[in-house]
Symmetry: C2
Amino acid sequence: MQDLPLSLQHLIEQLARLPGIGSKTAQKMAYNLVEMSEREAVDIARAIVEMKKKLHLCSQCHYLTEEELCKFCSNARRNPKIICVVDTPRDLLAIERTREYRGLYHVLHGRISPLDGVRPQDLFIDSLVKRVEEGEVEEIILANSPTLEGEATAVYLSKLLQGKGPRITRIAHGVPVGGDLEFSDEITLLKAIEGRHTY
Amino acid sequence: MQDLPLSLQHLIEQLARLPGIGSKTAQKMAYNLVEMSEREAVDIARAIVEMKKKLHLCSQCHYLTEEELCKFCSNARRNPKIICVVDTPRDLLAIERTREYRGLYHVLHGRISPLDGVRPQDLFIDSLVKRVEEGEVEEIILANSPTLEGEATAVYLSKLLQGKGPRITRIAHGVPVGGDLEFSDEITLLKAIEGRHTY
């Protein structure tokens, strides 16, 4: 590093602050930026600044948007009586890709994880309770990740929302479609058997 | 992608223009930038712009610098009579890491590669010839990569510079130190035997 010009060292340090980008990858990226034309590199920088300026969270469901309400909350053809709770915006997109779900969402922006210092009050849970208490909601689908933290979050929410009106459901666990049964872990397989249904 | 706010889509497209960054990685990086504070994200953008503004090529050897001459060319304790020719700035850094080489460098910024449309005139070869013709140089070490293109470049340069005064040498091919002999390919092994020396 000490043989590099300062501005390049600084860029590598900055890029390495991105989660998942190690110092080798940061170096590679920095060199690619060095070799790009000034215009191309500045376009990338500008896209970061623009995104930060324009993007914020939907005031109702906390998905990403450039408006007051996101494209789902402001879509009159979506069913406002069903709310699907997800951990992150990327999880929302995964569900949207099924092209079947037509209700609204609620993005928690994280999972309860005492080990990482993430407590319930660090997530968008208050606003979910408020949406439920407004009375229009008939079902809350807990689509938290099937990880330890996601399960803990789902259990926490199910207890919190129980008795407030809407039906509380949890997405099914089971063997992934197209997956080979013999490679499924015991817990997934157990859940798949427990969750079996008649044809 | 169409479910993403425009500024985020645009950022993902821009990041995906970096060589080696696929659309999945670009998405991951963009989300990480979304989750960063505005200050952190803008710092990264600023580091790109700063680097582009300050960094240019050394007027003598074409390594990266923020001054007229790079830290090697402007170092009076380096031996200007030896020039080590490398394909890229990263190759220069690799040689520098040996902490043994005390001469100067010449960075070609590429390798001759007709298939990729890289011709000799696209590289910093003219300025190398000029440095040789100025008469002070006693040895040119061709440290081009041991790839097809690197070899072609080294052969081209050796013919071009032959008879102009300095001794033209090529770095040795052989089995890597610490490598297992049985895993070496035939050509490397052949080169290692050809290049054998007495103790």
